[in-house]
């Protein structure tokens, strides 16, 4: 009796093994090929659109795909669309998707059944999707709203083919943040040149502060440091050419950028690759760190989230390095809205876009948002705080604003540079810089050709 039982139980795991195995094969096959299948599904480029018949716009419904998934921007966005409905009589149905998910699925989203309108970013990142025919040009919208935007804002909304594809809503500068009280207490002055910046960092270190709070666990924050040094040293045109691989990554200019960064490394918070930028911002809040170079969309937003003293936060633009360029350029990424090629209700969607491209629309949005700034020229927003007011001034002073490495270049290249910057942070020696430049160039050749 006991023998039968024992063989029975040893028998069942055997069949379980087989089942497990089959499951395993299935899982392996699916993970290996899931991406390909997904991509293949959205492959057909058919489009059904009745461009001829013009339907009455009022009373119809427009769907809006949104990546404004955090509470504050979501509320601001809801306020914006409510106002848009009130103004244009077009109903808006918002489909909010977590922002990382939204960005990761954008290609299949736009090829599948996208919403009429969707949230997106300016720069090469917009031009890339426009160039593949996934986005509808909105030149007629720009004819109506163009007057309220600067030529720079229009350029940011223009695709490689010269048509407009985006209605911008806000941008935010990448600048050096500090606490006013701390600077006043220790009698620090705002540095405007590279030497002053290094001297200030040295002084802060002597005073027991971390001169520059720094974090790069997410990979992208350090790209901002590369961008600003590149624009200060080599200028805006060089930045654009480098981002689109018209200048090789092995160029001496890139080497100089990394060398300046290496000079800064001893003053930057150590262990950046394992720290989230939120934690770096906390060390600035806690006055353990003297400065932090990042976007207001992150630092100021974090102060608001943490209910820290936002009035004590201030910033200055990154000091000049090469006198030829001074402080002419900065990263000020712009977010906005685009119209899908496959939109079902194009006319009503354009009516919504026309409203969004106005001053009142932007100030409605910015009532809830305490860190970004609007783009409409001469925009007066009564709810702006000191940071926002200063952001507007500093962006206006710039001769050109860049959009950040991952928006100005092919995202695959930005990914490659994320890894390269992290390796640089681990070892900022000159020999390593040369090696990293060569690796970047090889990858760029594979990505851009």
């Amino acid at each position: 009796m006991s023998e039968v039982e024992s063989s029975g139980t040893t028998g069942s795991p055997l069949s379980a093994t087989r089942r497990n195995l089959l499951k395993g094969v299935g899982v392996a096959g699916l993970t290996a090929a899931g991406g390909g299948l997904l991509a293949a599904c959205g492959g057909s480029g058919d489009k059904k659109k009745d461009s001829g018949s013009k339907k009455p716009v009022a009373g119809s419904t427009v769907t809006f795909g949104s990546n404004y998934s955090d509470a504050a921007p979501k509320a601001a966005f809801a306020a914006l669309t409510t106002a848009a409905t009130a103004s244009s009589k077009v109903k808006v149905k918002i489909n909010t998707v977590d922002h990382n998910t939204f960005q990761n699925n954008i290609t299949s989203y736009l090829q599948g059944t996208p919403d009429d309108l969707f949230t997106w970013f300016a720069g090469y990142r917009m031009q890339y999707f426009a160039a593949q025919g996934l986005v509808e040009p909105i030149d007629d919208v720009w004819e109506k709203i163009g007057g309220s935007f600067s030529p720079a804002a229009k350029k940011l909304s223009t695709g490689l083919d010269g048509h407009q594809y985006l209605v911008p809503i806000y941008n935010y500068p990448w600048v050096v943040f500090y606490n006013k009280s701390e600077f006043a207490k220790r009698h620090y002055t705002i540095p405007t040149t590279w030497d002053e910046y290094i001297a200030l960092a040295k002084q802060m270190k002597k005073d027991g502060l971390i001169p520059i709070a720094f974090a790069d666990k997410d990979g992208w924050p350090a790209l901002g440091t590369f961008d600003i040094l590149n624009m200060r040293i080599n200028g805006y045109d060089y930045h654009n050419k480098l981002m689109t691989h018209k200048i090789p990554w092995t160029d001496q200019g890139v080497h100089t950028v990394f060398q300046h960064w290496a000079e800064l490394m001893p003053y930057m918070q150590t262990g950046a690759n394992g720290r989230l930028w939120q934690d770096a911002a906390k060390s600035l809040e806690a006055k353990q760190a003297g400065m932090m170079f990042q976007g207001t969309n992150q630092v100021a937003a974090q102060y608001v989230t943490d209910k820290a003293d936002l009035a004590d936060l201030d910033f200055f633009t990154f000091p000049a390095v090469n006198p030829q360029w001074g402080q002419d350029y900065m990263d000020a990424p712009t977010d906005g809205f685009m119209l899908s090629k496959k939109a079902k209700n194009t006319d009503a969607a354009k009516a919504i876009l026309e409203y969004i491209g106005t001053g009142p629309a932007e100030s409605t949005y910015l009532k809830t948002d305490q860190w970004d700034v609007g783009l409409v020229s001469g925009l007066q927003v009564p709810t702006y705080n000191a940071i926002q007011k200063k952001s507007v001034e500093e962006i206006a002073k710039c001769k050109a604003v860049a959009q950040f490495m991952d928006r100005d270049s092919d995202p695959a290249m930005a990914n490659a540079m994320i890894a390269i910057c992290q390796k640089f942070i681990d070892d900022p020696s000159t020999s390593n810089i040369t090696k990293l430049q060569q690796s970047a160039e090889k990858q760029a050749k594979a990505i851009y050709s």
Partner: protein, 339 residues
């Protein structure tokens, strides 16, 4: 050894004549008299799984292999033309790229070889540390310590959590300035902090500790089930023959558990090859935590997709996975063929 074979043969004899033979005979008779409806039922029962298998396993697998020879960003359609050199990538889309993707992965993609190495390290740690540890827990618990249930629950707890959650829990443990370890050992300052998750020489091991924490519990439960199934008379017999506990385990119990050992071996290999969640939660699988599965994802899932390149990486992972699977299949079916 002899105990095993003795235990098996009588069972096989007692099973087969009554229970197994008759359904076979009946089925044969039914085959001859199958009505149209029966045939439809059979066709459906066989056809649906077959279709599902083709649609969800074979089609994607073969599709991936084909895609791995192309250059494609996921937009528009594929065509048969070969890629022209020195053209902007937007114009060079969906073209035939030959083995270029594989060549690029092996030569200029800096993450590739680290990823292969990390996958192998992951497998080695699971085989050499996590599995024996789970076995040790199981054997100790099986000896009926006081409070066995409590230990069992504690060790099994991580298995019930999703890997994503485990990643987040350990983030609190490893965080540089605010984490548990650095705070306890007093190295959470700004100059002396240990960068557990950011230092590429440390973070793989830190994450492997997280993975082992879970995997050992998983293996333990499987072994406990196996141990419970071992015939107690075997232990008695071993005791009578004067074997010490060590000998009893390795000479008697362990061989009897051969089926469960195979299950665990397969689970270990699969778990280590599909490792993804923990490193992705930790830092998206960059800077010292590269794994093939992550590279596939970061190339295929994303704003701009390098579908061809990512597929090539997927094929590499598939080939690596096929090795243990083939060995296992070969072993299993050979045993069945020779009764």
């Amino acid at each position: 050894m002899s105990a095993t074979s003795q235990g098996r043969t009588p069972a096989a004899v007692s099973d087969k004549p009554e229970d197994l033979k008759s359904p076979v005979r009946r089925r044969r008779r039914r085959l001859r008299t199958m009505t149209a409806r029966d045939r439809i039922v059979v066709a459906l029962l066989l056809g649906i799984p077959l279709l599902l298998d083709l649609a969800f396993v074979w089609f994607p697998a073969i599709g991936t292999i084909l895609l791995s020879f192309t250059k494609w960003n996921g937009v528009g359609s594929l065509h048969e033309k070969t890629c022209k050199p020195n053209m902007p990538s937007i114009l060079n889309n969906g073209c035939w790229y030959g083995v270029q993707n594989y060549h690029q992965a092996a030569t200029i993609y800096p993450e590739f070889w680290p990823a292969v190495r990390h996958n192998l390290i992951w497998l080695a740690v699971f085989v050499v540390i996590a599995t024996p540890l789970g076995m040790l827990f199981a054997v100790l618990l099986d000896r009926g310590l006081r409070g066995t249930r409590i230990y069992q629950s504690l060790l099994f707890l991580p298995v019930m959590l999703s890997l994503a959650l485990i990643g987040i829990i350990w983030e609190f443990v490893y965080s540089q300035n605010y984490g548990l370890i650095n705070t306890v050992i007093g190295r959470n300052g700004n100059d002396n902090a240990i960068d557990w998750l950011g230092n590429p020489h440390l973070n793989l091991w830190a994450v492997l500790l997280e993975a082992t924490w879970r995997q050992a519990g998983y293996v333990m439960i499987l072994y406990l089930a196996g141990l419970k199934a071992v015939d107690p008379t075997l232990r008695e017999a071993a005791l009578m023959d004067g074997a010490n506990p060590w000998q009893t385990f390795w000479r008697v119990i362990f061989p009897v558990m051969k089926p469960i050992n195979i299950v665990i071996m397969v689970v270990t290999v699969i778990e280590s090859l599909r490792a993804f969640d923990l490193v992705y939660i930790t830092n998206k699988g960059i800077n010292g935590l590269e794994l093939l599965s992550v590279l596939v994802t970061s190339n295929i899932v994303g704003e701009t997709q390098r579908v061809g390149f990512g597929s090539a990486l997927g094929v590499v992972l598939l080939v690596i996975s096929l090795v243990p699977i083939t060995i296992f299949l070969y072993q299993t079916f050979r045993r069945e063929d020779t009764p």
